[in-house]
């Protein structure tokens, strides 16, 4: 690390002056509601009541007793872990493919970034149409091109968003679609930072494509891959947009995640206390992710 220039008292005062507005703003719009969320979760406050009473851990207890909540908790992990596990594999393949030079690369890069850049709620509506129960283009291909469903003597074509397991799978797939670009571009940054000498040396020693991939490339991009995965995990873990647009948690609350459940409980149902308790179940995992990220940052900074 570079030697730090000494900072005089005047400059320290100026620093405080420059930083405080941002800190105060963040404190007001993140710190205050965060503390409020903690309070709500142990109170009985609702949309219409002015202030609530302390009820201890009642909200957490009734959440755990609720089968819909337990299902949502499971779904949240399935959604976040499942989608990111697929993303790791796919983004590695795609980043390796994109790290080569080829004609038209910028167009491909633009297309691959689209799902990340477009507002998620709108991209998900695209999928809502693709997965429609009657007009699904995927089903059209299954039925009319591949002839595997829909005709006499064949199974019915899948109702993608109408059957619990298929609906959950569709939601995970759309989340993969939407986080793949970020993971890929982050990994691509890692790949291009590997010096060419290392690849040359490996080639001279006769290492093939897969040997190079698993023994050189992947270990070297591992820290950056972890960053990509952690971000993707945090996004997926706390997100409700895909679920809200595709299924609204249905059929029969089988595809709720904690975020969407908190929304329906708190905003549609007015139970601010119960909803805060549901949302706070995210906190332990988020804290763990933050600590992991700090560790990672500190370890690589020491290099």
């Amino acid at each position: 690390m570079k030697a730090r220039a000494t900072v005089s008292d005047d400059e320290r005062a100026l620093a405080r002056l420059l930083i405080s507005p941002a800190l105060i703003y963040i404190g007001a719009v993140i710190g205050v509601p965060f503390v409020l969320a903690l309070w709500f979760s142990v109170s009985d406050v609702t949309v219409s009541s002015a202030a609530g009473h302390f009820v201890g851990l009642e909200n957490f207890r009734s959440a755990i007793d609720d089968p819909t909540f337990r299902r949502a908790l499971g779904n949240t992990f399935l959604f976040a872990v499942g989608s990111q596990a697929i993303v790791i594999v796919l983004s590695t393949v795609l980043a390796v493919a994109l790290s080569k030079e080829f004609r038209g690369k910028w167009v491909v890069r633009l297309l691959i970034l689209l799902p990340w850049v477009a507002p998620v709620s709108l991209g998900s509506i695209g999928w809502l149409w693709i997965l429609d129960s009657i007009y699904s283009v995927i089903n059209w291909i299954l039925q009319h091109s591949l002839h595997v469903c829909g005709a006499l003597g064949q199974p019915h074509c899948p109702v993608w968003l109408g059957q619990p397991n298929l609906a959950m799978a569709s939601i995970v797939a759309v989340q993969v679609w939407r986080t793949l670009p970020l993971a890929t571009v982050i990994q691509l940054g890692g790949l291009t930072s590997i010096p060419q000498d290392i690849h040359d040396a490996a080639a001279i020693d006769g290492a093939g494509f897969f040997r190079t991939l698993f023994q050189i490339t992947i270990p070297l991009v591992l820290p950056i891959m972890l960053v990509a995965v952690l971000f993707g995990f945090v996004f997926a873990f706390t997100d409700m947009i895909v679920v809200w647009v595709l299924t609204r948690g249905g059929p029969y609350d089988t595809t709720q995640v904690l975020a969407s459940l908190a929304f329906f409980k708190g905003i549609d149902g007015g139970d601010l206390a119960g909803a805060s308790a549901v949302a706070l179940f995210l906190l332990p995992v988020l804290t763990a992710a933050a600590i992991l990220m700090l560790r990672l940052a500190r370890r690589t900074e020491g290099l």
Binding site: F40, L113, I125, W129, L180
Partner: protein, 280 residues
């Protein structure tokens, strides 16, 4: 070229083509659907990739004349501009101070600010709904103007910190030897050099505003006040009646142009994410 190399090339092309199709198909499908006549769209037996009854502009006419789509775009622009101004005003000085003036404490403060980016709207939107209604900002675009900087300021502070760190210290030091104060050196020497960084902040703040969904859905109730990312899915999709042509047109128009703009800046965005994980 021998067979093995040719095979590799075909494999490479296949992988790229498969991924590009997966990524872009929903948008291509939006575009196809936008120009289809409703009868054509709702005939499940015809080849869906073709205009059997000719393309039509009717869906777009409905979108622009009979829905609030333009209003939502306007709302999004209004909120976007306000949030960009607040973010620039607060995040740029903070980023500079963290990069230059505050030693080790600053570094830790910087990490702390970045970590607040990980506190998700999911935990905050319920208490914020109460705060917003207490402030009588319920159903007002100003509720969004107030709350959106909660995620734009942390990220942009971090981004600007990295940007300022990359500018050599000698520049300000020379200016200060010439008699400028530290603050003047910042405003007169460093800021004019940082136009690219500031532009990056503007673009990202704007895209983040455009993408935000949960707060918009929570704070806004009337159709005429939605932003585009909330208005389209909650207002154009009503009950079981879907105007797929207009809906797809709206999604395409609101997502693809901004993607082109963003694409120009994406590398900087990524380096903002991975500062600390890679050296260099």
């Amino acid at each position: 070229m021998n067979a093995r190399e040719a095979g590799k090339k075909v494999g490479h092309f296949g992988v790229i083509a498969a991924f590009a199709t997966f990524a872009a198909f929903p948008f291509a499908w939006m575009l196809v659907t936008t120009f289809k006549q409703t009868n054509d769209l709702l005939d499940p037996n015809t080849f869906p990739f073709w205009y059997h009854q000719g393309p039509t502009l009717e869906n777009l006419r409905v979108l622009f004349e009979e829905t609030l789509f333009l209003r939502w775009i306007g709302n999004t622009l209004f909120v976007g501009v306000c949030v960009v101004l607040i973010t620039l005003l607060l995040a740029v000085p903070a980023g500079y101070a963290l990069a230059r003036l505050s030693g080790t404490v600053g570094e830790q403060l910087g990490i702390a600010i970045f970590l607040t980016y990980l506190v998700p709207p999911t935990i905050l939107f319920i208490p914020l709904a109460k705060v917003v209604s207490t402030l009588h900002l319920q159903d007002s675009l100003f509720s969004l103007v107030l709350v959106y900087p909660s995620f734009t300021i942390p990220f942009c502070t971090w981004l600007m910190m990295g940007f300022f760190k990359a500018i050599p210290r000698d520049l300000e030091e020379a200016a200060m030897v010439d008699g400028l104060s530290r603050f003047e050196a910042f405003t007169k020497v460093i800021l004019p050099m940082s136009v690219a960084g500031l532009l990056t902040v503007v673009i990202f703040t704007f895209t983040l505003v455009m993408q935000e969904f949960v707060y918009g859905l929570t704070f806004i109730n009337s159709g005429s006040k939605f932003t585009v990312s909330v208005g389209v899915p909650s207002f154009l999709v009503r009950g079981d009646v879907y105007f797929w042509g207009s809906l797809m047109g709206a999604c395409f128009i609101a997502s693809v142009p901004i993607a082109f703009l963003y694409n120009l800046f994406v590398d900087r965005f990524i380096s903002g994410f991975t500062v600390g994980a890679v050296k260099g």
